[in-house]
């Protein structure tokens, strides 16, 4: 249990985004094109070291931290703290996890100035919402909750492991406007999805009824759809039968020499699940006041009714549960929105010979708005940043983010480029690193690649 708890902690330090936001607008890292295909990118070619050019992992939780539960506190027990949190958490609170691994990444600039980038990455993400009512029912029982409805709808979760092939183009269409687009082919290796559940459970006192209570299961419709799970294998990375397409769109608009406005939509896409489908389900309506015993009248033989078997049979006729072959379904990828207002200053030292009119600056500052569409409420955050060349070979960036997880999220990014060999690392919520147990959010991404 201790090891399991510690492993949970290792995951409890991030939020769910495919690319860490410190990389947005870093115009000499190709990873910025994955956040905004219309971003300014100042280099002429790149080649990611296979499997090492983009490694990111994050997980996040709202409503509590590991410290809330496991803190060393002589005035309370762990069970006291769990009890407190059980009643604080709501159905909007969630645990989210994301992992992304760039397998291949490359790009080149065409003679007309367009930049083509392509690659293949593997991504896994999942989100589980706290089923508030069922959590209380499980934790407390129904004895002190007579007359209360417990919602089954609050049970929500989804997750996916997929590999993505992509190719994008970044194009300057005018002095002021640069646009970009990236096409993606999603290959879903495994998916689980349970977001449209319904129903209620309640226990009512029935003073005029047949027995003390009536226990009601009302319009229960709990379904967990899965695809690709049974046949999950490394081969699924190439072709699983569950495919989809998506597009990223973005732009950079130069308002004047120093100010620019950017925006992007990432993962506007869907996956059609039609292979290796299964559904785990629990559906029906049922109401009971216990077992009614039928005593025979005098001179009538006892028919030895199988009361319990009849009770079970009646339940199974009205409530169906188990596994069954699934039906095809479609899922949407979590759509991300980014937009920034950027101010650049300081002249560059290097000449971008293929793009002499490209205005690059030593330093940038601005604000970035980011949002991720999620099943219940979207994630949204506002980030202020300062990004500058520290030395010829070293670029650094500091960010300050306000979002649902934290009001004191400071992030850092460092990127070195020495004779074309680049190493970058970005860390979100660096202050939380001082004690990860207290963190709701943090994350990292790093990579090795050749950029020229």
């Amino acid at each position: 249990m201790r090891i399991g708890a510690f492993l949970v902690l290792l995951f409890v330090f991030g939020y769910s985004q495919a690319q860490i936001k410190q990389l947005y607008g870093v115009d000499d890292l190709p990873q910025t094109l994955m956040l905004n295909p219309g971003a300014e990118f100042t280099k002429d070619k790149h080649f990611g070291i296979p499997l090492l050019s983009g490694i990111s992992a994050s997980a996040g939780i709202t409503g509590l931290t590991a410290y809330d539960i496991f803190k060393e506190d002589a005035n309370s027990t762990i069970n006291d703290r769990i009890r407190e949190k059980i009643y604080e958490l709501s159905y909007k609170d969630n645990f989210a996890i994301n992992e992304k691994l760039e397998i291949l990444s490359l790009g080149w600039r065409r003679e007309n100035g367009d930049y083509i980038s392509a690659g293949w990455y593997q991504e896994a993400d999942a989100i589980v919402y706290w089923p508030e009512d069922l959590g209380i029912l499980t934790y407390e029982g129904n004895a002190n909750r007579i007359g209360e409805y417990f919602s089954l709808e609050q049970a929500r979760l989804r997750g996916e492991v997929l590999s993505v092939f992509h190719i994008g183009i970044n194009k300057k269409v005018s002095d002021k406007l640069r646009i970009g687009a990236r096409g993606k082919l999603y290959n879903s290796m495994a998916n689980f999805n349970s977001l449209n559940n319904q129903g209620w459970f309640a226990t009512f006192e029935t003073p005029q009824g047949e027995n003390f209570y009536r226990h009601d299961l009302i319009n229960a419709q709990l379904v967990l759809q899965t695809s690709g799970v049974d046949n999950f294998s490394p081969a699924s990375m190439l072709f699983s039968g569950n495919l989809g397409v998506g597009v990223d769109l973005g732009f950079t608009y130069q308002l004047n020499r120093n100010w620019k406005l950017t925006g992007s939509l990432v993962d506007l896409g869907f996956v059609m699940h039609s292979s290796d489908l299964k559904e785990h389900y629990f559906e029906g309506d049922y109401s009971t006041s216990g077992i009614q015993l039928i005593f025979p009248a005098v001179f009538t033989a006892d028919d030895n009714r199988p009361y319990w078997q009849d009770f079970e049979k009646e339940f199974e006729e009205q409530v169906q549960y188990g596994d069954r072959p699934g039906e095809s379904y479609t899922t949407l990828r979590p759509l991300k929105l980014y937009s920034s207002l950027d101010y650049g200053w300081g002249e560059p030292e290097d000449c971008n010979c293929l793009q002499p009119d490209n205005k690059t600056f030593q330093s940038h500052a601005g604000v970035l708005f980011s949002a991720v569409k999620r099943p219940v409420l979207p994630y949204a955050g506002l980030t202020a940043y300062y990004d500058t060349k520290i030395f010829d070979f070293l670029r650094g960036k500091v960010t300050y983010t306000v979002d649902q997880y934290s009001f004191k999220n400071v992030g850092l990014m460092a990127s070195t480029n020495i004779k074309g060999f680049n190493f970058y690392i970005a860390v979100d919520n660096i202050l939380a690193a001082e004690n990860l147990a207290k963190a709701n959010t943090a994350g990292f991404q790093l990579g090795l690649q050749i950029i020229k």
């Binding site: 539960i69 060393e72 027990t77 069970n79 129904n142 027995n211 005098v298 001082e434």
Partner: protein, 182 residues
């Protein structure tokens, strides 16, 4: 500063400042879950015709008995985690006569594992008289109870020579406290 040194310093700094403090994961072994449930058990209705040949006004059965399996008692969930149990029974009686209720919990071989009985008050004027009985099991009784799989309810009519006529409604419920720990 050479880039390799800078990277090493950066890495060491991050590792050095990243830590988990002021927490004790061993506390996970102390976690337990305790919850309380109430559920209906059985209910029934007895009338004059269950005891008396109404044509001749002769008592045929002074004792009536029915039983049912309660298979959930055998579930591992109950066996391992049930730590407290109370059973409540209620009669609403319009018979003039009183009754004796016997509840027996039997195993699969119909051997008695646990039982209790109580008297049900009669009604002097035919109005509804309510008798409630609550039985809270001790730990030793609970261990015996967990070996049962069947509930048998017997109702003994106390004859007093008066006309036997009326209605007897029975309700029952159980309160369970469950404990899940390491």
């Amino acid at each position: 500063m050479k880039p390799r040194i800078l990277l090493h310093v950066l890495a060491v700094c991050i590792i050095a400042i990243s830590c988990v403090k002021d927490v004790d994961f061993d506390q996970a072994e102390e976690v337990y879950l305790e919850n309380e449930f109430v559920t209906d058990l059985v209910y029934f209705n007895l009338t004059t015709s269950n005891f008396v040949d109404v044509d001749n006004d002769v008592v045929v059965n002074s004792t009536v008995t029915e039983s049912t399996n309660l298979e959930f008692l055998d579930d591992q969930f109950i066996q391992e985690n049930l730590v407290e149990l109370a059973i409540e029974m209620e009669y609403q009686n319009t018979f003039q006569q009183s009754f004796t209720n016997r509840a027996r919990f039997l195993n699969r071989a119909n051997q008695e594992m646990y039982s209790f009985q109580f008297d049900v008050d009669g009604s002097a004027d035919g109005s509804v008289v309510t008798t409630r009985f609550v039985d809270t099991l001790t730990q030793a009784e609970l261990q015996q109870f967990k070996r049962s799989i069947k509930l048998e309810v017997s109702v003994d009519l106390t004859q007093d020579g008066q006309s036997i006529e009326g209605n007897l409604d029975f309700r029952s419920k159980a309160y369970y406290k469950m404990l899940f720990d390491q």
